[in-house]
Subunit: 585 residues, 2 copies
Amino acid sequence: MFRTQTCGELRLANVGQQITLSGWVQRTRKMGGMTFVDIRDRYGITQLVFNQDVNAELCDQANKLGREFVIQVTGEVAERSNKNANMETGEVEILVTEMNILNEAKTPPFTIEDNTDGGDDIRMKYRYLDLRRNSVRQNLELRHKITFEIRRYLDQMQFLEVETPILIGSTPEGARDFVVPSRMNPGEFYALPQSPQLFKQLLMVSGFDRYFQIAKCFRDEDLRADRQPEFTQIDCEMSFVDQEDVLNIFEGMMKHLFKFVKNIDIAEAFPRMTWQDAMKYYGSDKPDIRFDMKFVELKDAVSGHDFVVFDSVPYVAGICATGCAGYTRKQLDELTDFVKRPQIGAKGLVYIRCEVDGSFKSSVDKFYSNDDLKAIATLFDAQPGDLILILAGNKIKTQKALCELRLEVAGRLGLRDKNVYAPLWVIDFPLFEWDEETQRYYATHHPFTSPNLDDVPLLDTDAGQVRATAYDMVINGVELGGGSIRIHDSALQNRMFELLGFTPEKAEAQFGFLMSAFQYGAPPHGGLAFGLDRLVSLFAGLDSIRDCIAFPKNNSGRDVMADAPSVIDQAQLDELNLIIDIKEK
Amino acid sequence: MFRTQTCGELRLANVGQQITLSGWVQRTRKMGGMTFVDIRDRYGITQLVFNQDVNAELCDQANKLGREFVIQVTGEVAERSNKNANMETGEVEILVTEMNILNEAKTPPFTIEDNTDGGDDIRMKYRYLDLRRNSVRQNLELRHKITFEIRRYLDQMQFLEVETPILIGSTPEGARDFVVPSRMNPGEFYALPQSPQLFKQLLMVSGFDRYFQIAKCFRDEDLRADRQPEFTQIDCEMSFVDQEDVLNIFEGMMKHLFKFVKNIDIAEAFPRMTWQDAMKYYGSDKPDIRFDMKFVELKDAVSGHDFVVFDSVPYVAGICATGCAGYTRKQLDELTDFVKRPQIGAKGLVYIRCEVDGSFKSSVDKFYSNDDLKAIATLFDAQPGDLILILAGNKIKTQKALCELRLEVAGRLGLRDKNVYAPLWVIDFPLFEWDEETQRYYATHHPFTSPNLDDVPLLDTDAGQVRATAYDMVINGVELGGGSIRIHDSALQNRMFELLGFTPEKAEAQFGFLMSAFQYGAPPHGGLAFGLDRLVSLFAGLDSIRDCIAFPKNNSGRDVMADAPSVIDQAQLDELNLIIDIKEK
């Protein structure tokens, strides 16, 4: 037996007991004739004591221990004279009588501490050492707890977890599919699933009623900051439900997670916001509503004052930054620079200071009188001491820029506290998006999303106005998941394909077996999927999903630790009937 | 709202209530002016009643319902005069007042019944309909329950579920790896994992202490009857453990599953058997010990009687079939034919009948006197009425043949009851297997398996005799899982690589980052993996793992429903820098 206890569990009550611990050497300190060694495992750290006067040989051995050596010690639990309130085991120490070095260790290339001296690259190369750090391991412990509680909740709600295949059919136009050559079927390829969408809808046709799966999904796209080629979805589908049923079940799931993972009780219903309102008031389909600071549209209020910037554009809107009237020129310049950055793209920033004395001072004083400014301030319900920030231009681009500015200002005001959670359902997404370039509609979600049945007449007259029965769950400005009620009526499905420019042949090629399945009695159904990586990141307060993935890949899709991907043997290529032909760039 | 209840929950207590159900039409029967419709969902079947005299129009509609139509009905729960004790809802029926056809259905190509008229091929093509059958769906419900209980148990035992990557590095000689071309890294490939072995050992180096994962694994090999290209493992690893710790934890897991899934309490410890004994007494490393019928070795007892068949071979052994002395000539011929089949390959079968009158009758009476036969019978502890069956030949082949004969006879005697479970640990596997052809040792498990430390001196003198600290869990003759204590000492590991013919370079290439990781303080660790598909099959009493997989592939690795794998677009091949070049056969 390697241990009687873990390094995290000894307390005053254990004083006097003979115990054995195993773990890693966190640190050693020599103080006079005494040597103190901190021994660490997943569960905690315990202080070991070696006394030169009691056992010189053992103490010498302890003095030679290197960082991260793996040791096993036996000794008596004693009360510490110098207690450490920051450690759970801080009231005791072990008077070691026997020590066994289980394994030596090379000095790690960075310190195994919460605040390590290792940079990103080296930590990824030695991910197995990085994972020893508490701060990293705790993210994965949280991930375990979240998935366990998701399963517990969904099991209670009679969902069945069903594994769908990873080796699936490649779809035409599936350019973002990873593919897998089949040795047994020469010249043919499997694809890895971007999501289990078709399979979960099939399971509804099969009468499974309530399905879920915590499923690996794959996407071969150029990776942006927070994407991984493989990612994990909490994928769910239900039969005989309308939107209200789905929202209730998954609002319940999120409350369950807050309660059992974060110990936060949320009694009230999650607010709901239409996509129209989200865009109008927040310039985003995933508004962060931890704080208010809604957009106020000003086009009418500011027009006709000979200020050409406002007169010449279709859209003018602003936000009110509470208590920021005192911002210095430097601070205002920073905000102006912020919105003028290429990725935001505003031309400039107009401000109105609502001075504490009730007067107004603005960057456009030339065009607007004090009364004009006061009238504008009234639209914001601005108070003395507040600062109004205004952008103007093309509607969609300006909304986006103002959204970024709102988040930036909120950040400066400390309104984006990671320990505050503001969940929200965004509903009534548009069913279609019009693409100017190709002059046609695309499905905002996917072609199986049901229109709001009230809007079906608009399909023929004004398709752009048709609302989908689609919904997203947003927390703190992060889209955690989304889904829709699916079309189960084949006439309506065919109408959708037509509007989306699918010929019957193309629809058959791409969704053939699902369309066939629907002919054998499809129930009304709907569902949604959550991004597990994002959910864990949100709960852990992380800036990147990478930090909650045990072995993540970098922005080139590489695992730098295992050095994957890599070349393979010619013999294997031959077996797969493949020749590599790298084009000159 | 589509329903107030499911089709499985109405009882006498609900009589008089107005309810709404949704589901599929299982069957309709017209009896005089009454029409009875069985409506089905995942939860059960409820009888609906339509009365021509009460609502002729509605009744006409009901008469036109086809099999598998999806309907929604509202009505009053009434007590049935003609109760059906075989149905949980059999005491009630619904007097329908409203009906809504949610979806029509083409007539399915086979009946949705436990005993369907559909053959294997058609059921796989229409797997989404096959999954509607209770008997199939119940296997997947069982699979859900088993995985849920596995997680519940391991969570209690402080195991963390950690997702390891699916896109990993390809290893040299990884001919059985599926590979995935990387678009972003031209000419390079990911591999899909055959198991998370390296990653779980890394997690032990990372101090995760107790890891598990219900993990998809992949193997591109020619598929035998009960193999799938993708399969699911319950993969586990623990630190600071010896074999005893691992066996205790996972024996506990299996008992937990028996209790919470099958409602079977197993109080006693699972028996343990050395690999040596398993081979000696059962001719198999996965003996079915639901019944005894051990091998008795007879070489000494039968030699020297001028029976050349026995005298000329190194190995003679038999089994005793209780109460089978009355077997007819035909039955004995059947057994002889059985052992002579090419896949078993025995030359013949010798029998000794222990007659009820105390005499003996044998196929080799010419060579053995009644007393000789009696002496042999005594070795088996055979009683009057028993039948002794004897095979002779090369030891290993004969053991295998006798093992098959034992199972065959037990089957005929009804000793292989699927509702009886006989778990067993097989331990002390040999560390190496000698390959005559290449004249070298191979690792019986994998190169990280630790030898029994008592046997380390034999590594240099008699490697074939070295026992591994490796163990398999066997239930009813099925190997459900296995594992080992790993080597954590790098000197011992290097010795192993040497014995296995790995040059340092080859070991580095194949296991490089694990070997590096081990230098930074590897704890003693060990683990095991269970085959989930086999475990579910065992619990469900299935003959094939395919029946507990939602969307299985056939023996050519094809999903016949989705028609995968398939050809992909030239554009995608170009993006992947690949040319297909199918060789002439």
